[in-house]
Structures are given as C-alpha cells and as structure tokens.
C-alpha cells in the first residue's frame, strides 16, 4: 500500500513538471512530436529508476550524518552531507554514460531510439531534483526510494507525452504570431498544471 501511495503521489500529485517545473528545458525543447517525447520520457523513467536507489544508498551509507558508523565508531560523527550535490550529480552523469554504452552495445535498436536523448538527461533537473527530494523525504527503505524514482519518472513521461500530443494538433490552429511555439507551450503547461492541481484532492 505504502508503495502504491508513493507512486501515485510522486506521479500525479507532486508531478515533477506541473508542480515543481523540473526538467522544463528538455520538456519544452523535445515536445514537438509524440514519438520523440515517448523516447525521452522512457529514457527519463529508466535513468530515474536506476539512479534514485543508488543515490539512496549513497545517502544512507556515506553522506548522512552518522552514516559512516558501519566503518567503526570513530566515523560515527562524520557528516559528509555537504558533498551530496556533487556526489549525486557525479552518480547521475556516470550512470547516464554507462547506460549509454551498455545500450549501444547490447541493443542497437533501443540505442537508435533513446541514444540521442541520453546525454541530455544528465543535465535534466528532474533527475537531480528527484535525488534531492529523495534526500529530503527520508524514505524508510530502498524499495520506497525506487518506487519514488519510478513514480517521478512516470509523471514526467505523462507530462511530456501529453504536451507533445497537444503541440502536434495545435500546429493547425491560428495562434497569434508572437505566441507561436514557446509562448503557447508555456500557456498550455500552465493550464495542464491547473488541471493537475485537482489531484491534490486525493487523500492517500
């Protein structure tokens, strides 16, 4: 139950795009067609599911105050949390690199589909954002952290696919010149954000 709660909460209520604006840069840049949106969305889910648990382990076993106590009592008071930004981003960047190489070697077809998006992801704020929120929410175990990663990724996936679908159709509408493209995308995201606010009414 707890897992389902975390999933629904992170995917819909705390949606990365609509409530926190995380990953907006690639969200706006790569949402012109549904096909590419699905590609980038899947890549984000994948990277989040892999990096969030790794960052969780890093946080609980190394970075947190007292986390190093498994090394011996003299380390029990160490607090490395000031290093968390740099460690998280290093993990994310290297996992992305690793995933890119693995996918390229073992599944050229998937690489063809995801390949160009993977480098973009290292600097997608949704990934680092999920790591930092994970740190703040202090999940009880690694399972919850993984589900949180999955949920956040899924929420991001829905967001980008939805907006891409709208943008595909909107090409045929008469939009005032200055609002064409980015302007309209902002407005649409705002409206969708309002709709997603409705999920706040969920009691979990």
């Amino acid at each position: 139950m707890e897992y389902l709660n975390i999933f629904i909460k992170s995917a819909f209520i705390d949606n990365m795009v609509f409530t926190f604006f995380f990953g907006m840069c690639s969200y706006l840049a790569v949402s012109k067609t549904v096909k590419t949106a699905v590609g980038l969305g899947s890549a984000v889910i994948f990277v989040l599911v892999v990096t969030t648990p790794i960052n969780y382990l890093l946080e609980t076993l190394v970075l947190q105050e007292g986390a190093l106590s498994w090394l011996g009592d003299e380390y029990a008071t160490m607090d490395l949390s000031f290093l968390s930004f740099i460690m998280f981003i290093a993990v994310i960047a290297s996992i992305v690199q690793l995933v890119e190489m693995l996918v390229e070697k073992f599944s050229p077809a998937l690489y063809g589909a995801l390949g160009i998006f993977l480098p973009l992801i290292a600097v997608n704020c949704a990934i680092l954002g999920a790591a930092l929120f994970m740190q703040q929410k202090q999940f009880a175990n690694i399972g919850q952290a993984t589900v949180y990663g999955l949920g956040s990724g899924f929420g991001w996936f829905i967001a980008i696919v939805l907006i891409a679908a709208i943008r595909e159709k909107i090409k045929y509408s008469h939009i005032p010149g200055p609002m064409r493209g980015v302007g309209m995308a902002f407005l649409l995201t705002g409206l969708m954000g309002l709709a997603f606010l409705g999920f706040l009414g969920f009691e979990l």
Partner: protein, 221 residues
C-alpha cells in the same frame, strides 16, 4: 580569437552586446528556453527571486571564467563532467554560505539552490561560450545572461506577489504593503491563483507575447 587585437577596450561594442543581448533578443528564459526549472518555482516572493538571481549570476560568472581559463587544458573526453564538477563545487559553496549567513533565505530556497547545478543556462553558457572565448568576454557573457535570467524572475515575482498577497518583499526593506487596506475594505480580494505554480507559466507566456510583439523578428514560424 587570434584576430582580436590586444588593444580592444574592455567595453567595446561587441562586449557591450554580450551584456545587452541576453536581456532581450537572446534572453535565456524566454527565447532560449533555458533555466526555467528553478526560475518559476522561487517566484512567490520578490526576495527569493532576487537572491536566486544573484546566486545564479554569481555561479554563472565564476563558472564561465573558470572554464574559460581552463579551456585549453580540459580533456575533451570528460568535458561535460569537468563542467558539472566545477558548477557543482561552486553551488555547494553558495549553499554553504547561504546556510551560514542568511539562514532564513536558505530555508526557503531549500532544494532549489542545488538545482542551480542542473540549471541549463549555466551548462549551456559554459558549453556554448566559455569553452571558446577569453575570460573577460566570458565573464561579461555570464553577467549578461545572469541579468537576463534575473529580469524575468523579478517580473514574474512582482506580479505573483502583488496580485497574490498584496505585498512586495524586498531584501533589506522587509515586507511592503502595496495594496492598501482600504481597497480590501471595498471588496477586493487577493488572487489565490497567483500563489500557485501554474500562474508563473501564464506570466511568462504573457511576457513572451509582449516581448515578441515588440520584436517581430523573434517570432517562430
């Protein structure tokens, strides 16, 4: 850069353009669509927006200069990682300083300070400008983009705070009441929507509309 003459003045026309262009025709937020993640989430109060812009500008200038100084020694293969490390280190320093000296602000900005690392403006400028230009030009480019980013943040924060809570919080001056009590007595109410996340997007959309109407050459087709 070899054709550049040594005697080029510090504020030549080209260098001035490095600062002024990002304010309008290549504004990082509204035209290049970079750095929106953090831009919109910290704009409910003016003081947060101002401090966030200052933090981003500082990281941007220093990061640009550092990368520009190191542009000839950074190994090509690990370029992106080196840039990330430089930015992350700068952000940690900013975060630690905020926590130590302006604790209240750091509490409000919380995770958003960390997100400066993945603020695409910074990585974008490092990659696109600092890697190929001298340090002085890079510093100006950082300053220009920082101001361009801050400009949008301040505009958004202004509308959100004035119409959302009827106040304006300015660092050093505290919370100023903009909409007088008498207006409320006549039946005026704060617009709650302005305090919610989606309103930032609406304001930026209108900002883009106004900006592109005044500069028709920016219109996308």
């Amino acid at each position: 850069m070899s054709e550049e003459k040594k005697s080029e003045p510090l504020f030549s026309k080209k260098n001035k353009a490095l600062i002024t262009n990002p304010l309008n025709s290549i504004n990082p937020v509204t035209i290049q669509v970079l750095g929106i993640c953090s831009a919109l989430a910290v704009t409910v109060q003016m003081d947060n927006a101002i401090i966030m812009s200052l933090a981003v500008t500082a990281v941007l200038i220093i990061g640009n200069v550092l990368v520009s100084l190191m542009r000839n020694i950074i190994p090509g293969k690990i370029r992106i990682i080196v840039q990330l490390v430089i930015v992350a280190a700068l952000v940690i320093i900013v975060d630690q300083v905020l926590k130590a000296y302006v604790y209240d602000v750091s509490k409000k900005l919380s995770v958003f300070v960390g997100l400066i690392i993945t603020n695409c403006i910074i990585m974008g400028r490092l990659e696109a400008f600092a890697l190929g230009n001298k340090s002085w030009a890079s510093a100006l480019d950082g300053l220009g983009n920082g101001i361009g980013y801050g400009l949008v943040l301040v505009v958004v924060a202004f509308f959100k705070e004035v119409f959302g809570s009827g106040t304006l919080t300015i660092p050093g001056l505290g919370k100023l009441t903009i909409i007088p009590e008498s207006v409320y007595d006549m039946g005026y109410m704060d617009n709650g929507l302005m305090l919610l996340p989606p309103s930032s997007l609406f304001i930026v959309a209108v900002y883009i509309w106004v900006q592109k109407t005044r500069n028709p050459e920016l219109i996308e087709d």
